[in-house]
């Protein structure tokens, strides 16, 4: 039996009843008046004819599926279209019932002209807030990108500065250090040609050999330097204690008769190129041995700490703190005048005739650079030398820290 809905006819609301295919089967007076149709015109018309296009899409994608699946839908905002094509905003509740084996969808709504105005304002305000927030997050993102770029730029500047410095040094080596023996070679050759009196051929030839040997050692130093520049570093977990033992064995063979007392404490494993680190310690320790104060003995202490440093070196006002491993190699040798503590790292800079060819510390600096690290030297005549190597701490350290945490 059909329920008696006659009271709805006079009710101050939108009331429409329709079949699943959208055919209107009942409608009240208020709805007809609002839309400007007669009841006869609306009965058997399709819902689509009183829906705006947007509402028709909404009906297909949301309203109908909702009713079909849940039999009820509440507080839906739709827009009706009048006979004169005016738009009427309506807040709608709907219900679907099976009556006499046929589905009937009942829609009850109220016209919300004023509410729509408020909502429009609300939506506008929300959009403004959203776009402000969006701009803000865009700014934050831009800031992060800028930070990344700045870090990149800083690193690139560092690389460029170093390369510049290296080029200068190379220039000096090629123009001066190699020119000099070449000049001597031609002098001696001339002497041989002109056969000056008092100079025997043998002496001149010996001088030519000496000069050639010097040139060869300069070239081989350059080769090592170029090797360090061109070879990609491989990161391994470096255990310094093991590495130091091996280096010590090598040095004992090179300097027999010298008592090398090498000590270390609490060395932390770190990620670095094992071969390069070996080379670094080989050169540092051989310096300690060669410039020892006592006749047959030298004491060297290797220690390490973790320090936090600003990653930015070239851009003023920028800060990003990151962890470095600080290695100290301290000896009790003869030391040198602190005014040379920068120059000793320059290629082929020698402070004394006793030193080699001035390549060792340049290679050490190169190795530190290769690891984005730093090397510095502190010395005083008669009081020994301390070399400090800073290497950025890579993840192995973090892992190590975790392991060391009490469980």
């Amino acid at each position: 039996m059909q329920p008696d809905l006659s009271y709805l006819d006079k009710a101050p609301c939108i009331y429409i009843s329709a079949k699943d295919d959208g055919t209107i089967v009942d409608v009240n007076e208020n709805t007809c008046t609002t839309l400007g149709y007669t009841k006869e015109q609306l009965l058997s018309a399709k819902l689509d004819s009183i829906f705006t296009l947007a509402t028709r899409i909404f009906q297909q994608t949301h309203l109908f599926p909702l009713l079909k699946m849940q039999s009820t839908a509440a507080e839906l905002f739709i827009t009706l279209q009048t006979k004169g094509n005016d738009h009427v905003p309506v807040l709608l509740n709907a219900e679907r019932k099976i009556i006499n084996e046929a589905a009937v969808n009942t829609y009850i709504g109220i016209v919300v002209l004023n509410r729509k105005k408020f909502e429009d304002e609300l939506v506008a305000a929300k959009k403004a807030a959203e776009s402000a927030l969006h701009e803000n997050s865009a700014l934050i993102q831009a800031k992060e990108e800028l930070q990344a770029h700045a870090e990149q730029l800083d690193q690139q500047m560092q690389v460029v500065n170093k390369q510049n410095e290296e080029l200068k040094q190379f220039n000096r080596v090629v123009t001066h250090d190699l020119q000099e023996p070449l000049r001597k070679l031609s002098v001696f050759t001339n002497m041989l040609q002109e056969k000056k009196e008092g100079e025997s051929d043998k002496v001149i030839l010996q001088k030519i050999l000496n000069v050639s040997a010097k040139m060869r050692s300069i070239v081989s130093g350059l080769q090592q330097y170029v090797w360090l520049t061109e070879t990609q570093k491989k990161l391994d977990e470096v255990h310094l204690d093991k590495l130091l033992l091996i280096t010590l064995q090598q040095l004992k063979k090179t300097y027999p008769g010298v008592d090398i007392n090498l000590e270390w404490d609490g060395l932390i494993p770190f990620l670095a190129d094992h071969e390069q680190v070996s080379l670094l310690f080989y050169h540092l320790l051989s310096n300690s041995i060669r410039f020892r104060k006592e006749e047959n003995k030298v004491n060297v202490l290797v220690s390490n700490t973790i320090s936090s440093r600003n990653k930015f070196e070239n851009i003023p006002g920028r800060y990003f703190y990151t962890d470095y491993l600080k290695l100290k190699i301290k000896d009790d040798g003869m030391g040198f005048d602190p005014q040379y503590s920068e120059q000793v790292f320059e290629l082929f800079k020698r402070l004394s005739a006793k030193s080699g060819h001035g390549i060792g510390l340049s290679l050490c600096k190169k190795i530190a650079d290769n690891h984005n690290g730093k090397i510095s030297i502190f010395s005083k005549e008669g009081e020994g030398t301390t070399v400090t190597v800073l290497l950025p701490l890579l993840n192995v350290e973090a892992k190590k820290k975790e392991i060391l945490q009490p469980v």
Binding site: D21, Q60, T61, H62, F64, P65, L66, L76, L133, S137
Partner: protein, 268 residues
Amino acid sequence: MVSSIATRNNVRVYGKGVQPIMFAHGFGCDQNMWRFITPAFENDYRIILFDYVGAGKSDVNAYEPERYASLHGYAQDVLEIIDYLKLKDVIFVGHSVSSMVGVLSAIEEPSYFSKLILVGPSPCYINKDDYKGGFEKKDIEGLLETMEKNYIGWANFLAPAIMANKERPELGEELTESFCSTDPVIALQFAEATFFSDNRDDLRKIKIPSLILQCSEDIIAPVEVGEYVHKNLANSTLKIMKATGHCPHMSEPEETISLMKEYLSNAT
């Protein structure tokens, strides 16, 4: 945290058969809309149901605005689900916008699919030059406004969109309790991705056989659009249904099932 594909897309797999058949819901609702269709395929097929990220009971936190700004992001959902389930030769059933999502997916990974069943497909909703998609741009803008109004009562609608997901994920969960309710911001973006899409050129890239189920009197995908799809999709079969509206799988499930079965039995 990244959820597994199964959780992310609320993937459900069941059925007594071997041949996989995947049902993809359209814009507005979720996998539940297939509930009148799937029982008819349970015995002979392996059924795959899912919700797109942002719809139904999917993981709203997995929603990435940049990814889902176009239908390609949704196609990636489909491909990732198939890849996750290690399926091949899937029969893909897509309703409405999912038809084009299926087309895009099949272009990307043809071997994943054996057949496409497109329910109310439209490669382009907006009229362009000689092409009649059925809508003008302003109609779509009107729809977006209607949708926006429908979400106004929702608590998180008033919170700026970007905050809503990040800081109050629990709101997303509340919203998915009700069928057809999606996070409003996501729904709006889905509407834009859907109704502003133009995949007409993609139709010609499809070689696998397809069935087009075209409703009569469908304002969202009119008959002319169905005919356009048929003309441009090689190896396609067009069936004009008695069903009206845009959701024949809900309004006329029997007709939908019989046309699907007829096509599948003839084709194999």
